[in-house]
């Protein structure tokens, strides 16, 4: 616990705010949106749009999402094994409460990622402010902003993704010329412990 060892409350505060950011999506849904469940059925990419339903909801079902396998009596699913094990553990630790498990997965897993990034960045940078910057650039998907700008300038495909929080904010209010391919990010369990946010949710209209 690098930042705890240094009793650096400012870094701890930043992590608390990051946790609040990760939690904000679900909290708004629960408090303002009259949400029935945190599992999202407005799905455009079932596998990673909201992976929570893939990993949590299939627990207890030998085969998820696959009548073929049921018919052929093959105990096989294409769910990745390690994420399934991690999320299954979370689910059981949350007393099999699906919404709680999704919420915890949305908040705790990214925070663990952030700490790991902070720890590694602190080793490289040797100063906490730059280490925090690395974490914020990663969480804000800053590289996606660079990617889409370079892709627009060079005429190459952006790989179906672009933006990041910074880019989204700019596009939303300044309607930048690159608008048209951004994808609104939102919290998710994502890839293992990376603070990855699924995409494919909201396409900014082209100006």
């Amino acid at each position: 616990m690098g930042f705890m060892r240094g009793k650096d409350l400012s870094v701890l505060g930043i992590f608390a705010l990051l946790g609040l950011a990760f939690a904000s999506y679900d909290l708004i849904l629960l408090w303002i949106g009259h949400t029935h469940t945190l599992v999202n059925f407005q799905v455009s990419d079932g596998y990673r749009f909201d992976e929570a339903y893939m990993y949590f909801a299939g627990i207890g079902k030998t085969i998820l999402y696959d009548p073929y396998l049921k018919e052929h009596a093959a105990d096989l699913t294409l769910r990745p094994m390690l994420p399934t094990a991690i999320f299954s553990l979370l689910y059981w630790l949350c007393a099999r409460n699906l919404d709680l498990a999704i919420f915890v997965g949305h908040v705790i897993a990214p925070l663990v990622s952030c700490y790991l990034l902070y720890y590694i960045a602190a080793q490289f940078a040797g100063q906490k402010k730059l280490a925090v910057l690395a974490v914020l650039l990663a969480v804000g998907h800053f590289i996606f902003s660079m990617l889409i700008i370079v892709s627009k300038l060079s005429g190459k495909a952006s790989g179906g993704v672009g933006g990041g929080q910074i880019y989204i904010c700019l596009s939303k209010y300044f309607h930048t010329w690159v608008c048209g391919e951004i994808l609104l990010l939102r919290p998710s369990l994502g890839a293992y412990f990376l603070p990855h946010s699924p995409y494919l949710s909201y396409y900014c209209p082209s100006p």
Binding site: L20, K70, L76, F124, A134, L147
Partner: protein
């Protein structure tokens, strides 16, 4: 980090742990391969070169490596790290060129997107930024907004996944039953939150071959009277198209997808609706206001929106 600082080769146990971590994936690949539809399944995943952002990370890590090397003129830990990222990108790109490396999203987006900020700060630490904490504060504010705003935008989309009466009707069906529905949300609901199985499957997580996936969609389209556009990649409940459900990123050409669908359609035109239901197991059919026509001889009404299929 100790290895990087000391520029020592990692202990062999490091590689042993890496090899052990790969065992579950190797087992899964072996099981999938033994099922006999390996090429179809991995074909749906798509290739790295189709949609990935690898082209961006190659010059990105190349520039950071070059800059860091010019600063120190030696292989310090920053250069080694950036160079390792560059080498990884190059290796993956080369593998993709020769072997059509699968999985378009994970590599560039989910790994290098988080390694890139580390190389950025390796570069930035050579500059003096007295106001860095203010920049961090601005970024943090962006991040807070970036997560809260989507919640606000989508706040009402989670209210009801489906009408409550449909949920209760589905929940009353026996465990393990196969339910046919042409509602995309209901396919997902049945798959994720009930003990039944949906008749339709999503290609990216299904072990069925392409032909079977298409056949199932063609059957559903015939039973529910879909128009041609809907079956051929048009709007399906305003969500993902049939092309995406069947081929995911593996057949990015709409014409190629439709050609494959039409090939299956042509083999099934002579089948009556009841004959179609005999091709793959189905126990119940969820319908809207009225039951689909032509099923009177092989189904009975079970509840307001559910038909029971007689075998």
């Amino acid at each position: 980090m100790t290895w990087l600082k000391g520029r020592r080769f990692p202990p062999y146990s490091f590689f042993a742990v890496g090899a052990l971590a790969s065992i579950p994936y190797a087992m899964q690949l072996w099981v999938v391969c033994s099922a006999g539809v390996y090429s179809d399944i991995y074909g749906r995943v798509g290739q790295t070169s189709d949609l990935s952002s690898m082209w961006f990370f190659m010059p990105f890590f190349g520039l950071t490596t070059l800059y860091l090397w010019r600063l120190g003129r030696l292989l310090n830990k920053d250069v080694i790290f950036s160079l390792a990222c560059l080498v990884s990108v190059v290796v993956i790109s080369v593998l993709d060129t020769f072997f059509k490396f699968p999985q378009v999203h994970l590599v560039g987006l989910r790994i290098f997107a988080f390694l890139a900020p580390l190389t950025i700060i390796c570069v930035l630490k050579h500059f003096n930024f007295p106001k860095l904490k203010y920049l961090n504060a601005v970024l943090l504010a962006f991040i807070l907004f970036g997560y809260a705003y989507p919640g606000w935008v989508h706040r009402n989309e989670y209210a009801e996944p489906m009408p409550p009466e449909i949920i209760s009707e589905l929940a009353a069906l026996p465990d393990g039953a196969v339910v046919m529905t042409d509602s995309q949300r209901e396919v997902i609901y049945i798959s994720a939150l009930t003990n039944q199985y949906p008749y339709l499957a999503y290609g990216i997580v299904s072990s069925a071959n392409n032909d079977e996936l298409i056949r199932r969609f063609v059957i559903v389209s015939r039973i529910f009277g879909w128009d041609d556009a809907k079956l051929h990649g048009g709007s399906w409940d305003g969500l993902a198209s049939t092309h995406h459900w069947i081929f995911h990123h593996g057949a990015i050409s709409g014409a190629a997808s439709n050609e494959a669908i039409d090939k299956v359609v042509s083999t099934m035109t002579a089948f009556s609706p009841c004959q179609l239901l005999k091709i793959y197991e189905v126990n119940y059919i969820r319908f809207g206001v009225n039951p689909p026509p032509g099923l009177e001889a092989c189904t009975v009404i079970r509840s307001t929106h559910i038909l029971k299929v007689n075998h």
